[in-house]
């Protein structure tokens, strides 16, 4: 099976090349036989990539250490689930995994469009085939997961302990699913540009794919934050690391696109902008991959430096050049009858939202690349860490949060003064009341106060929208509140699913603002010694050390400390933190010691304990951190993902509009 897998990679390369050539040729020559051949080749490519993946998985499961990849990332005593997830733990395997997702997406896109978008499809298949070809080439001519060693080691090096975490088993696949899904809208955009069919047809085809990408990126980023928090032990979940930033960039532009697409759908405007956003989102996904794999920027998450980075730089260059040429030669086709009645309208609010989202994306990209620029200009290195990103992005983020509450309150086309007064009265009251409560309670941190006050405003906006919607249903249909809520969301998934996403955003911002009240204590404790401190809510805590203990389990030696806490004199559950030294089946140590954080979770705050070191064999150096509202980050992320799922869920049997609505729909004014 392994040999079949290796051969399949090469066959897939040839078939993908055939798919690319015949699809483009079929589109250009209007030869349906070539187009059909190209589509069949797309399915065949998928099948061969599946075979290649099965080959690698077989090698991993059977511990075939003759393969460099298997020997580098697994060991005989690695738990089975992590043996499976080692598939994407290293450079070459993750490339194959990316290729597997891409070829699957491509096959799905071709299959679901077999009776529609027929003019676009040859170019969609050709573009996706070309991207698949690129990934296959990086493996066949760059780093192959099937590369063999000259000798067969008795055991592999094992998997990095930091990757032996449930979060890490599912976080990378989600990010890959999100990253790769940006390729499909990109392919449709290229097809629309080539065929000059730049009306709403291609947009309708890509909306769901953009949502798929957004959904998986949201889940992936949230899981990544959770993994960083529970596994790395530095006490936070987002460090503005270049690789973290790389995942945020396509999410930001993808979010902007999901808003701006509505303006083109409803008003036919922003054609150039939407093409630009789709292309930019894909390019940022590729840029992120380049950053992760090239070693050009230092990051704790990077793969080892490899020539694959140069491949991605080349792909990036080619994509930019091709897209720029296509857009430049089709500017006339991208012209639209743009009309906007008022600067105070839903359309205008979406434009402001896009400006901010893209502005934040630019500032993140700028901060990520600024060290390189600075070194090139000044010749000396600088560090661009969290203080920089916070200084730049917190004000922009707060503006965006405010706009999240403003957009839904403004009418399409033009908002009258009376409309604004009626819509804004309650939400503004909600924001002001929150602000007054915070100030009265003594909160003075400016960014936290601003975040919570704005969160109060946006939350009231969302509640008001649901209140009005549910009220209308109850009046019209006499439904109970729960039924009205469910039907309201089910029948207006885009709108109310979007509000649920906004609710997740509000929760996230509240959780982020909680960091302003974080308290850290760096203490040294012998067995029986205690440490007293106060948490951000004013509770008195006492931690008594139970001393250090040493143990050996399955594939690791463990040194641990137990802390017995009391809060205001009341006993709380024991908190344990560990350092682990992993070893392979030959009892040889693998990797550096890893941290296992002790976390006492709570809705109000986490008590976060890290065993930082040991002095004189019997004294533990411990960091005890109170992290307010951290769990709301995961809840916020989950709520956003659920909202996204509601928005993209297919709406079967939607009632066809009639009367006024139908006429407006025909006129493009839904």
């Amino acid at each position: 099976v392994i040999l079949v897998g290796e051969l399949s990679l090469w066959v897939a390369l040839l078939v993908a090349a055939w798919a690319t050539i015949t699809s483009f040729a079929g589109g250009a020559l209007r030869r349906t036989d070539l187009v059909a051949s190209g589509e069949r080749a797309i399915y065949a490519t998928w099948a061969f990539v599946v075979l290649a993946s099965a080959g690698l998985w077989t090698a991993l499961i059977t511990h075939d250490f003759s393969l460099r990849y298997v020997a580098s990332f697994t060991s005989a005593n690695l738990p089975f689930v992590y043996t499976l997830t080692a598939f994407w733990a290293g450079q070459a395997g993750s490339m194959l995994f990316w290729c597997l997702i891409l070829s699957t997406y491509t096959a799905i896109a071709v299959f679901t469009n077999r009776h529609q978008n027929r003019v676009l499809m040859p170019y969609v298949a050709g573009t996706l085939g070309a991207i698949t070809l690129f990934f296959l080439a990086t493996m066949c001519f760059g780093q192959s997961p099937f590369e063999r060693l000259d000798w067969i080691p008795a055991d592999g090096r094992g998997l990095n302990p930091q990757l032996q975490n449930p979060g890490m088993a599912i976080h990378p696949p989600n990010l890959y699913l999100g990253y790769v899904a940006t390729a499909v809208p990109f392919a449709f955009a290229i097809a629309a540009l080539i065929t000059r069919r730049l009306d709403g047809e291609w947009l309708a085809a890509v909306r769901r794919w953009s949502l798929v990408s957004w959904f998986f990126l949201t889940v992936g980023i949230t899981l990544g934050m959770w993994w960083a928090y529970v596994e790395l032990g530095w006490g936070g979940y987002w460090a503005w690391d270049p690789v973290e930033n790389a995942s945020l960039l396509p999410w930001l532009t993808g979010t902007a696109f999901l808003h701006s697409i509505m303006i083109q759908e409803k008003r036919g405007m922003l054609r150039k902008w939407n093409v630009t956003l789709v292309v930019t989102t894909f390019l940022l996904a590729i840029l992120g991959t380049f950053i992760t794999r090239s070693g050009v920027i230092s990051s704790v998450h990077s793969f080892a430096q490899s020539p694959v980075g140069n491949w991605f730089a080349a792909l990036l260059g080619i994509c930019v050049a091709v897209t720029a040429y296509l857009v430049a030669t089709r500017l006339k086709d991208l012209e639209a009858n743009a009309e906007l009645e008022s600067m105070v309208s839903r359309e205008a609010a979406f434009l402001y939202n896009n400006l901010l989202l893209v502005g934040i994306a630019f500032s993140v990209l700028w901060g990520t690349l600024f060290p390189i620029l600075s070194e090139a200009v000044r010749g000396s290195k600088i560090t661009v860490g969290p203080p920089f990103f916070n200084a730049v992005n917190v004000p922009l983020g707060l503006l965006l949060l405010g706009l999240t509450g403003v957009g839904p309150l403004i009418a399409w086309r033009r908002a009258s003064v009376a409309n604004l007064q009626r819509q804004f009265a309650v939400p503004v009251f909600g924001g002001v009341a929150t602000l007054a409560l915070l100030l009265a309670s003594g909160m003075r941190q400016p960014s936290a106060v601003a975040a919570y006050a704005l969160a109060g405003f946006v939350a009231t906006t969302i509640l008001q929208e649901f209140y009005k919607g549910i009220g209308a249903r109850r009046r019209m249909h006499g439904e109970s509140i729960p039924i009205a809520f469910v039907r309201l969301v089910a029948r207006n998934r885009r709108r109310y699913g979007g509000y649920i996403v906004h609710a997740g955003v509000v929760i996230l911002f509240c959780a982020f603002a909680g960091l302003a009240f974080k308290r850290e204590n760096d203490v040294t404790l012998k067995a029986g010694e205690s440490f007293q401190t106060t948490d951000p809510y004013g509770h008195q805590w006492r931690f008594v050390s139970e001393g250090l203990s040493v143990d050996t389990k399955l594939n690791r030696r463990i040194i641990a400390i137990g802390l017995k806490p009391t809060r205001d004199g009341k006993p709380m559950p024991l908190i344990e933190s560990e350092k682990r030294q992993y070893f392979d089946s030959q009892n040889q140590d693998t990797f550096e010691p890893a941290t296992v954080v002790g976390i006492q979770e709570g809705l109000r705050q986490d008590v976060y304990v890290v065993l930082a070191g040991v002095v004189n064999d019997d004294t533990a150096e411990v960091r005890i951190t109170f992290n307010p509202l951290v769990w709301w980050v995961w809840y916020g992320g989950m709520i956003m993902a659920i909202g996204g799922l509601i928005v993209m869920w297919p709406q079967a049997g939607r009632r066809k509009e009639s009367g006024y609505a139908a006429v407006m729909e025909t006129a493009g004014v839904r």
Binding site: S72, F73, A89, G90, R157, Q162, L163, W234, A239, S298, V300, A304, Q305, N337, A338, E339, L340, M343, A348, L351, L355, V358, G359, F362, G367, F370, V377, S380, K381, I382, T383, V384, G385, P387, F388, A391, V392, L396, E520, D522, L548, V550, R557, Q581, D589, T590, F591, E592, T595, A612, G613, D617, D618, E621, S658, G659, Y660, A661, V663, M664
Partner: protein
């Protein structure tokens, strides 16, 4: 079962082995450790010096200083997280000595900057070219805002110049009933 001493001995050996492995065999997700990156930062104590700050204030200073071991963390976070980093504890000792020598937070940060250069700061100082780093995002946003404002005003002119034709469309009975309901509600409010 290992004693603690054996455990740390094994950990130290494994660290050295990890350093000696060829690049291709480096573990993923782990930055190369720059053990030799440490440079002493020392200043003579001020006359009659006493400790210049609380532990909390000292930790805040360490949050401003970038550990040079190759990680992306500040000195405080690295030394209280990374079991094996030899650099952040050494930098911490220098901070402690400067605190004991009576130096203020800014003086300590400047001393580190003098030895390591700007890269030792967690964010670039707001001087010279670095201002480009801080201001460019806002400048770009400003330019974007001007472009959006210009576009909107142009699109509005189109609307003013060419008023949309009024089309009479018969509503469905359901739409008419909803319209009447809405008017009745407005009248009552």
């Amino acid at each position: 079962m290992l004693s603690r001493r054996e455990f740390f001995g094994v950990a130290a050996i494994s660290l050295v082995q990890a350093q000696q492995k060829p690049d291709g065999a480096r573990p993923t997700m782990v930055m190369p450790m720059h053990d030799d990156a440490y440079k002493p930062v020392t200043l003579p104590a001020k006359p009659g010096a006493t400790a210049s700050m609380t532990d909390e204030a000292r930790d805040a200073v360490e949050h401003r200083i970038h550990c040079q071991c190759g990680c992306t963390l500040d000195v405080y976070t690295c030394r209280t997280t990374d079991f094996t980093c030899p650099v952040s504890p050494a930098m911490h000792k220098d901070v402690m000595q400067l605190v004991a020598g009576g130096y203020s937070a800014d003086e300590i940060v400047r001393a580190f900057q003098g030895v390591y250069g700007d890269k030792v700061l967690m964010a670039p100082p707001r001087v010279g070219f670095n201002w480009a780093g801080y201001l460019t995002p806002f400048a770009a946003l400003g330019v974007g805002a001007v472009v959006v404002a210009t576009l909107i005003s142009r699109w509005r002119r189109v609307v003013v110049d060419e008023p949309a034709p009024v089309v009479a469309v018969p509503g469905t009975p359901d739409e008419m009933r909803r319209l009447e309901d809405a008017i009745r509600r407005d009248d009552q409010s």
